[in-house]
């Protein structure tokens, strides 16, 4: 494990830090002796970086990091402050008192303001630092203890020992407060500005772009290659703050702005509007039919997003390799954001409902109802494709979950709730990355990209396969099948004519992504089936008595598990669902 800690670029960008320090110094009410704003005149971080000793790494991923360091600093940094102070003690004394009981001197309290320049140098720090980094939430840096060891304060009044001592004492105490309270806030804000485009003002973005454009590759995938220390997650520590641009690029697609843009994009294709929002690093594809779009929304992977998705998954894999618990959290945020972005706004709620509804709705009775509803939905679906898709989606999801549950039970009853559910829902993403890769490599002809994507995935896939495949193959496949073809499948068994039509369209889209469509209909199904042993037919034939019995059983079990899980972690239903998504990608 290696850290690349770049100190020099930090030195270059002191302007913004200076502004923030200035504003934070002037934010709190100043003592009455200071009559003007405190201006940070000069800030030099020096050439000596602080020494960092890693004590503990709690969480490690490409987009997040948590660790405890022991930091000691004996560098040559210095800071110069400028302000004006009131030299008349009577003035400052009276300014804080109520006028009613003040002696109200005639002229004895007249003010004399003196410009004051204070230089802080020879700063000696040592302490324990807790650093938490995540791409979405920026850097949180907290000092566990008071890091200030010693400090030299030199000011305009150095010749007066009384004033010098007083200043030394006051500034030390103020600095302690700054280190413990203000500095974390400043760093957090800075990191937010750097990482998430939402916080960046237009001006702030400009310089960063300039810097990034020089070395920032066009393709987000290329970035990892550029950062030598990138294995997984580690690079964030050292390189993230400074060479942010690449990561920013990849994750820019997750910001609110980009979500809106993507939404606009999808909407634009539904209308006759010629306006197409412009996005960087994206490839546009025209879609032949509404069904394709729906498929997309369900399937989560749009061509635009491929890079990001694959990125996530790769990180996912790495995380899963490192620690089993990590991936769920890591993938949580991105996946949550990606989904809505992909789906049109109308469909977005349904997606969420799927995630939330699936685990909760597992109670046996409800399930039955759901099944019934699903069929109804199909019937309705005849009228309009889009409507049917949206309405049927949650139900189909439930169904898929149920379908998956049955097989999973056979394989491993205890693990079922967590893994099966996840995988079932997740199944969609796995494909998209693959397809992406396939697509982009030929289209872009970008050697770097392919290499990166390959590198990113390479380590991941084997592990995932090893972990996920043997026991969970069945589970994975079934959910996937259900997810992808929820509508198709549902339709197919019951209403032959219409489903077939839908299928055809969908089949086309799916195969184009995955493989050349030889058997339009079976392509998706077949691929799924070939991967896993679980039979597609079982899913489709949910209506059977045996199945029902199984489902009842399963549902009860699931309900229990869900209740337990809820008790353990209340808010993370989404996370669980997201967790599921990543692994299947590798599996498939």
């Amino acid at each position: 494990m290696a850290f690349n800690f770049n100190w020099s670029p930090l030195i270059a960008d002191t302007d913004r830090v200076r502004d923030m320090l200035t504003s934070s110094l002037n934010k709190s009410p100043k003592p009455p002796i200071i009559v003007d704003d405190i201006i940070v005149n000069e800030l030099n971080l020096g050439s000596t970086p602080p020494e960092l000793e890693i004590l503990e790494v709690g969480d490690l991923a490409e987009d997040k990091f948590r660790g405890i360091f022991k930091m000691s600093y004996t560098g040559d940094a210095y800071l110069t402050l400028k302000t004006r102070v009131q030299a008349n003690p009577l003035n400052t004394y009276l300014s804080t008192k109520p006028s009613f009981a003040s002696p109200q001197p005639l002229a004895a309290s007249s003010g004399l303001t003196i410009p004051l320049q204070i230089t802080l140098s020879d700063i000696r720090l040592s302490g324990f630092v807790i650093l938490v980094f995540s791409k979405q939430k920026g850097i949180t840096l907290v000092f566990r203890n008071d890091p200030l060891e010693s400090l030299k304060v030199s000011s305009t009044f150095d010749s007066i020992p009384f004033v010098r001592d007083y200043l030394q004492k006051t500034i030390e105490s103020q600095l302690r407060v700054l280190f413990m309270e203000d500095l974390p806030a400043i760093i957090h804000r800075l990191s937010l500005r750097m990482f998430s485009p939402e916080y960046q003002t237009a001006e702030a973005q400009e310089p960063s772009k300039d810097q990034t454009d020089e070395r920032a590759p066009i393709d987000p995938f290329a970035n990892p290659a550029q950062q030598p220390t990138d294995s997984f997650g580690q690079p964030l520590e050292g390189s993230a703050p400074f060479s942010l641009d690449a990561p920013t690029e990849t994750y820019a697609s997750f910001s609110q702005k980009n979500l809106l843009r993507l939404a606009a994009l999808t909407e634009s294709q539904r209308t006759l509007s010629l306006f197409t929002p412009s996005m960087r690093d994206t490839v546009y594809r025209a879609w032949a039919s509404a069904a394709d779009r729906n498929e997309l929304s369900n399937g989560i992977s749009t061509p635009l997003h491929r890079p990001t998705l694959s990125r996530i998954q790769s990180t996912h894999g790495s995380q899963s390799a490192c620690s089993s618990s990590a991936p769920s959290q890591a993938s949580e945020t991105p996946s949550a954001t990606t989904r809505p972005s992909l789906a049109s706004f109308a469909s977005a709620p349904t997606v969420y409902s799927l995630g939330s509804g699936a685990p909760r709705s597992r109670a046996g009775r409800k399930r039955k109802n759901r099944v019934v509803n699903l069929r109804k939905g199909k019937v309705e679906g005849d009228v309009s494709d889009v409507a049917s898709v949206s309405s049927g989606y949650p139900e189909s999801a439930d169904r898929s979950a149920t379908g998956s549950t049955a097989p999973s039970l056979e394989a491993e009853p205890p693990t079922f709730p967590g893994t099966a559910m996840r995988e079932g829902e997740i199944s969609t993403p796995p494909r998209s990355p693959r397809k992406k890769v396939g697509f982009q490599q030929p289209s872009d002809n970008n050697a770097r990209l392919s290499a990166e994507s390959g590198a990113a995935r390479r380590p991941v896939t084997p592990r995932n396969n090893a972990l996920a495949f043997p026991p969970e193959d069945d589970n994975d496949q079934t959910p996937r099948a259900s997810m992808y073809l929820p509508d198709n499948r549902d339709h197919t068994p019951q209403a032959e004519p219409r489903p077939s039509r839908q299928r055809l369209t969908r089949m086309q889209t799916l195969p184009t992504r995955d493989k050349p469509p030889e058997l339009p209909r079976s392509a998706s199904d077949l691929s799924l089936q070939s991967l896993g042993a679980a039979s597609f037919g079982t899913d489709g034939s949910t209506g059977g008595i045996l199945e029902q019995a199984w489902m009842m059983k399963m549902a009860n079990e699931i309900a229990r598990k869900v209740a337990e899980e809820k008790g353990r972690r209340p808010p993370t239903w989404r996370g669980g669902e997201d967790d599921g998504e990543a692994p299947p990608a590798y599996v498939s």
Partner: protein, 392 residues
């Protein structure tokens, strides 16, 4: 505009014959009134009443972000016979403008008639008690004034507020007025601040009235017939803070006997801080006064200039008696027309402008003010306020 309670206190001082101008603290009163007049902020309502000659109450309601207010009560052992109805109050007593100094009096002599009571020689020791509770901040102000002797006034001012260190502070002031000179001793419990003020009037000594003083030749250049030259100094020291301050001042002002237009000049100096302040105020006419102030610091070279003026609007004499007033001889003493309103304005070199219009509208006294900052082009209007007061 003075608040009603301040108006009552001023009446107490006047009726107990205490010359408030003979103090170093009031050396620059004229400039203070013309330049540092407070501008109301927000909307404020005062309802007050002098229910009996000895008792006054006042309620204030303000809306300055949040609704706040205050209740105040005043008791004086000296029966005050002043007009208290807001329609009858003389505006010149409420609005402080250019201050005419009167000739010095001999304190003992002026108190002679009051000393005699019930046929015996009993010294009156008039006292005044005043309390004010601010809501919702729960700040309590209390004031105790007592004329210990004809030449001595004790003033105790207390503030109780939870936000203050030690929960409040008390200021005790003992003032001695001997006519020719006056002294003040202060003590504040807040950081144990001691203070001394003194004022000396050159020239005529009221304690030894000389009937021929008006016609005698000036003994020295400062002995001005039509005016008075005063010099004073103050010093403060706080043993807890080990800090202090001093200042000295000089004032020349014309007396009513002066034949030209009245004017006042002051010069104050803070030798420790190097602050020099000079003011010049002139009453250019019966309704108009100007004032200017120049501050300069010899250490920091900072300087400030401020110019202010006040303009009085007076009731025109009724048309049916206009012919009679026109026949009055110029040297006859005329009854000064009651003032209707006062406009005050000030501007300084930082581009800050203050405007204040105080007037009487039917039964109400109105005070409207606004502050501008000419340097801020986008937000020039700083603060606007209006005060409405009614008293009975």
């Amino acid at each position: 505009m003075l608040e009603f309670m301040d108006y009552v206190q001023a009446a107490f001082h006047a009726q107990s014959r205490w010359n408030r101008d003979n103090s170093y603290a009031s050396l620059t009163t004229t400039a203070h009134h013309l330049l540092d007049f407070p501008i109301p902020h927000g909307l404020r309502l005062h309802v007050s009443s002098l229910s009996s000659p000895n008792f006054a109450t006042s309620y204030t309601l303000g809306s300055q972000g949040v609704v706040d207010g205050s209740l105040s009560f005043l008791y004086t052992s000296l029966g005050l016979s002043i007009p208290s109805r807001s329609s009858a109050v003389h505006l010149g007593n409420l609005v402080q403008g250019y201050r005419h100094l009167t000739a010095l009096r001999q304190p003992e002599v002026s108190r002679l008639n009051e000393v005699l009571r019930d046929g015996e020689k009993a010294e009156r020791k008039d006292a005044l008690l005043y309390g004010r509770l601010y809501l919702p901040t729960s700040t309590l102000e209390a004031l105790y004034l007592r004329r210990i002797s004809p030449a001595r006034l004790l003033r105790l001012a207390c503030v109780s507020d939870g936000t203050l260190p030690n929960g409040g502070s008390i200021l005790a002031v003992l003032q001695n007025d001997f006519g020719k000179y006056s002294t003040e001793y202060l003590y504040s419990t807040d950081s144990a601040l001691f203070g001394v003020r003194g004022l000396y009037n050159f020239g005529h000594d009221p304690r030894f009235p000389n009937p021929r003083s008006a016609s005698r030749a000036p003994a020295h250049p400062w002995d001005h017939q039509g005016g008075r030259l005063s010099a004073g100094a103050e010093a403060y020291f706080s043993p807890l803070n080990k800090s202090g301050g001093i200042s000295t001042g000089l004032r020349f002002t014309t007396l009513p006997t002066h034949t030209g237009f009245p004017y006042t000049m002051t010069l104050t100096l803070n030798p420790l801080m190097g602050n020099l302040s000079s003011t010049y105020a002139v009453k250019a006419g019966p309704n108009l006064a100007f004032c200017s102030r120049f501050d300069f610091n010899v250490y920091s070279y900072e300087s400030d200039v401020m110019i202010g003026m006040e303009l009085w609007q007076r009731q025109q004499p009724a048309a049916d008696v206009a012919w009679a007033t026109a026949l009055l001889r110029p040297d006859w003493k005329r009854v000064e027309a009651n003032a209707n309103g006062v406009l005050k304005a000030r501007v300084d070199n930082h581009g800050k402008v203050g405007l204040l219009w105080e007037c009487r509208v039917k039964e109400l006294l109105l005070s409207i003010g606004a502050g501008f900052d000419l340097k801020k082009t986008e937000r020039m209007l700083g603060s606007v306020g209006m005060e409405v007061s009614y008293s009975s």
